[in-house]
């Protein structure tokens, strides 16, 4: 049972150093990572390859022993097996034993999560239905497609009604329709107060799904914050029809970027004041404005900026 804590995950200076057995060379997979994931939120962990995302998740689940620091799950030390009871986990590149049927696999993992036999009998068909596999429960999972395995993996993560889901690339191998279904499903669980921790390379998906993100880079937290703060209020896009060369140069000097297309020129301005000055200039020159709109940064832009600046 979760103990009283306002955070689902709380790490303090969490560090993992891998040491090569013979050469003694050290690799800091995660380095003093302090992160707080509030209860009930959907949190995305991002980072380039080798940033330490998987090591961080494995440390939370005690599959990897930290070198320094602490990790708490709902206020309980992550190394305590009981801390993992409220967690539903879907690993990346999972390898479910192929001797199971879909139902058998759910039965096994549910029993390890402490679900009683009577509950399992009731829950297994429900979970298969939930992930769209009700017709396939009796089939050996060796015959499942990658997308079906991903859905089944999600069902095993959900079967014991966890308070937190830790999902490593949850839509990997799933077709676009399936992805949308999974997103909707996760949205439903979020509305029920389940904390969702997503580790994904798919930035657009994280942007759609998550309310908070952290970007790991070279084992350290490079950026953390609420999605709306990170991606909102970044400037204005002014589209002008056929400006003169002189005017174009004048506007280019004030803009952060410029792009020409089909007789139109897009200028990006970083503040309201700058774009108003540009509009005044255009009106004075009787140049036509095609459109003016506030713009936001995509998560991808935030991600690239963060990683490149570090």
């Amino acid at each position: 049972m979760p103990v009283d804590s306002q955070y689902a995950i709380e790490t303090q200076d969490l560090t993992k150093i891998y040491r090569a057995r013979w050469s003694g060379r050290e690799v800091r997979a995660i380095d003093s990572v302090s992160l707080r994931v509030p209860r009930g939120t959907t949190f995305g962990l991002l980072g380039p390859n080798g940033a330490g995302k998987t090591t961080f998740v494995k440390t939370l689940l005690s599959a990897v022993r930290q070198t320094n620091g602490s990790a708490l799950i709902f206020g309980r030390n992550a190394s305590d097996p009981e801390a993992r009871r409220p967690i539903g986990y879907l690993p990346e590149n999972h390898r479910f034993p192929t001797y199971f049927t879909g139902s058998g696999m759910l039965d096994f993992y549910a029993s390890l999560s402490g679900v009683s036999a009577a509950q399992r009998k009731k829950l297994i068909p429900e979970q298969l239905e939930l992930v769209g596999l009700s017709q396939w429960g009796a089939m050996r999972i060796g015959k499942y497609s990658k997308g079906m395995l991903q859905r089944l993996g999600l069902a095993q993560a959900l079967i014991h009604s966890p308070s937190m889901l830790i999902l490593d690339e949850p839509t990997d191998g799933v077709d676009p329709v399936g992805r949308r279904e999974i997103r909707e499903l996760l949205g439903r669980f979020e509305s029920q107060g389940v904390t969702i921790f997503v580790n994904s390379h798919l930035l657009a998906e994280v942007e759609t799904l998550c309310r908070e993100v952290a970007i790991l880079h070279k084992g350290k937290v490079a950026l953390t914050g609420k999605m709306q703060d990170l991606t909102a209020g970044k400037g204005y896009k002014l589209t002008v029809a056929k400006p003169s060369d002189v005017l174009t140069e004048e506007l280019r000097a004030k803009a952060t970027s410029m792009a020409a297309r089909d007789g139109l020129v897009d200028f990006q301005f970083s503040s309201r004041e700058l774009v108003n000055n540009a509009v005044d200039l255009l009106r004075a020159q009787q140049c036509e404005i095609e459109s003016l709109a506030p713009t936001t940064s995509t998560l991808e832009e935030v991600f690239v900026r963060t990683v490149e600046n570090k």
Binding site: A63, V64, E82, Y89, P97, G114
Partner: protein, 273 residues
Amino acid sequence: MLTLALIRDTFREALARKIFWVLFALSTLMILFFLFLLKIDIVAGATATVSLFGQQTRGNPDVDRMVRGVYGGIASFLYTFGMFLAVFASSGLVPSVLEPGRIELLLSKPLSRTHLLLGRFLGNVLVVSLNSIYLVLGVWTILGVKTGIWSPAFLIAIATTTFIFAVLLSVVVLIGVTLESAAAATMITVALMIISPILAQTNLMMRLLSSEWSRNVWRVLYYSLPKVYELGKITLDAIQSGTFAGYTPIWTSALFGLATLGAALWIFQRRDF
């Protein structure tokens, strides 16, 4: 419930491996052999004829001696070929659990690593001991019904084969968690089985070895390694002549098994996956 789930999973995986079915099929063949091909006619408490493959034996055979001989043969089969097959079949059951993508999910469940590994160990011992029970009880019942001789000494073979398999399995588990190699686990465990009858010649070697140092090395090896051969011999003696050679092979093998399993658990606790 957790332990039961782990045992059931080990059974499922074992049944999915053909080698366990080979073990089961061999046991079944032996049972069928005694059921259909060995025919014993008892007249007024004495053996009238014994026929094998339709050929009758001449004279008046000593059925009690014959039954004990069969028991001894079965026990020898279990200790040699059966044990080798069981080790070979079990060698992959630990490394398979440690496969990336599988172990992380198991470790994410609310169970300790000790519980996880011991559950696998126990499941594996049960799979093999059930096969021993099936073979020994099957042959014992068939021969008992056919000859009227119900020697409980033969049933000791179930306990001793299960015990020595558990000791050898601790080596398989240690190699499994250390090297994650089924082949290495099989090779090292079979090497221990092969070396066992050689180490058992301690009295002879104490006379043959010239230096005290080499005699001490031999003694250390003898007392520290599992005594597969001697346990088999103890079982055979108990079945065939009702004698008991002593407890030393039992407790030294048990200590070896406990120490090896303890080392496997210690390493497993500290590993990153």
